[in-house]
Symmetry: C2
Subunit: 372 residues, 2 copies
């Protein structure tokens, strides 16, 4: 982790959503900007599956973060005004407790011995950092992709704990298409000869499975339309041709991304988070989306989707926006025609910057409503 | 192969498109209906990647074929009027010569020793059966999916050899998205611990890789929209839950299809045909699509695409139709709103039956044109 990472350690047993108990935990977090005296200017950002807490650079850690163009002084999430917090998800491997960290009872990595994780647990663990900072109510919660699921899990468990919420390229639950993709990614990992039921070592890493999983991920994170413009049928000569591949530029693009990912993310953490995404359903306690929002949120919601996203198709964001509107909440809904598909929020700042800036700047119409 | 299968054997060296030589070949074929005296009523059907020549049942072989509802007496491809021919693709493993058949020089299966195969070779090998039957000109060539690539390779090599052509859910070349999917399927197979550079045996089959490849195939053959209606988030209890899967019905659906496929199709044949699809480009000799059609076709073309197909997106069929129209050919173009995606031609007979029947029944407007 970088120099700006801070940690919250708890030795209290943490009861998980699916029933098991975690004997204490550590959470890695970073923040930007200054928390004001009445602690009313905090924005919490939940991450997608793979990023850590390093969402942006800072004086302590000048390395660009995963949402660098979005967070900073004068940027859409303006750290001159807001205190911005990002916590590495419980279950991940970027400083927080997860299957890759040490099980205190055995002194060895948890791996498949880690209890079953739910998206609700990520939200509830993150709450520990928010409470540790003495924040009662957040100005905003922002969740892109898996982070949007976590934002919904947050709302569900902590009603009226944020004045604004941004749900970006996300959904109330996964489509069967998204489940099929992730199921295949997990199958590629667990069938890797080096996976050995989680007993892989640094020298025999399940690299083949992780590479396949990452490439399949990349295929679903971008759009076919973007690739037609960007790659077409161009040949590549960067990597040597393999037995049945590496002839086309799109193949070398996938290979480059896969190589970067393989050593950086723990296979078991990937499996646990991936399964948690499939299993998450904001409405799993037979509460409709509308009554969930009615019960838990009365502020200003921002919902953004991308027409070319086929992992979290824009219909799913439209459903979220409609359910929010049906409760009488203020909702700004944007269906962007960006070519970058699911990953557009990371790369297409033109589309995302203005909606996020405007939504944060607008005073709450419901200030009177919540005060009543 | 079934009782209706017939074989053409040739011990003549067959020069392949990419430069190598095949020392003779065998082709498995089936036919339905009666070839008339002047041999003018023949319809040739090219197949997708995995089906064999058994496109329909017959008295000799009552087993339903892969296009059973389409071919037969009174059916859209009406065997009361037409002689219908289907040949197992060169390079496949359903009776024709391919990487799974015996290399006469070594007495062992070709496997990776098979020379590089191109879609053009499939068309040219098929031509041997057509010539063997004494057919000079075909009434129609029909090509769905990979079969459409083969139909284009046929046109390119044998100008004016068919009066009608049907290009179904196909394209003049693969998109980078389709290449990425197939590249990943091939990577899953060649990295399977049992693949061993093609030296797999019946007892150590690269089953894991073939299963992943097939599941990824199924994901791209249907549509996310269909699955939302069909599976939603329903749980499955047919298969036991695995470490990180088999919780949802969509997962058991994929598993069922994968199990059926694994023993039925040879891994090396899959690799060769898959790569041939990526490499195919109807315009690879710097001929535009329009001038290709201008040079090679003047009859009535049927082009069908499906709005939900993301492996061969409907834009690609629109491009084919426009290029055909630009040559002055008669073109019937249908963009179907079927939910079944790329596989719709196999399952959605409502959408495909009428266009195919009408196109075959219509007399050629260009009869005068071709006679001039």
């Amino acid at each position: 982790m970088g120099a700006a990472t801070r940690y919250l350690d708890s030795d209290q047993p943490f009861a998980l959503y699916r029933g098991e108990i975690l004997p204490g935990l550590r959470l890695a977090w970073e923040s930007w900007g200054r928390l004001n005296d009445d602690k009313s200017n905090a924005i919490l950002i939940f991450t997608g599956l793979s990023p850590g807490a390093h969402a942006a650079s800072s004086e302590l850690d000048p390395e660009p973060g995963w949402w660098e163009p979005m967070i900073g002084p004068g940027k859409p999430i303006d750290t001159d005004h807001y205190f911005v917090l990002c916590v590495n998800s419980l279950g991940s491997c970027k400083g927080s407790t997860g299957p890759a960290s040490i099980n205190p009872r055995t002194g060895k990595p948890w791996r498949l011995g880690f209890p079953e994780l739910a998206i609700e647990d990520i939200a509830r663990a993150t709450r520990l950092v928010v409470q540790h900072l003495g924040i009662d109510q957040l100005e905003a919660v922002i969740g892109p992709s898996m982070g949007g699921l976590t934002a919904l899990a947050w709302l569900k468990q902590f009603p009226e704990s944020c004045r604004k919420i941004a749900l970006i390229s996300t959904a109330c639950s996964a489509t069967p298409f998204a489940i099929a993709i992730r199921s295949l990614q997990r199958e590629a990992i667990v069938t890797d000869r080096n996976f050995r039921d989680g007993r892989y070592t640094d020298d025999d890493w399940p690299e083949v499975g992780m590479r396949l999983a990452r490439k399949l991920g990349m295929i679903t994170y971008r759009s076919a339309q973007e690739w037609r413009q960007r790659f077409g049928r161009k040949r590549q000569d960067y990597f040597p041709q393999t037995l049945f591949g590496m002839r086309f530029e799109v193949e070398s693009y996938l290979e480059t991304h896969a190589r970067k990912f393989v050593g950086q993310f723990d296979p078991c953490c990937y499996l646990y988070l991936s399964r948690a995404m499939d299993n998450f359903d904001a409405c799993d306690s037979d509460e409709s989306l509308k009554s969930l929002f009615q019960r838990c949120f009365s502020g200003h919601a921002l919902v953004i989707g991308v027409e070319t996203d086929f992992l979290f198709p824009v219909d799913q964001q439209r459903d979220l926006a409609q359910a929010l509107e049906a409760t009488g909440s203020e909702v700004s809904f944007h269906a962007l025609d960006s070519l970058q598909g699911h990953d557009a929020f990371l790369v297409d700042m033109d589309g995302f910057a203005d909606p996020i800036r405007e939504w944060l700047q607008q005073p709450l119409l419901s200030a009177t409503k919540t005060a009543k």
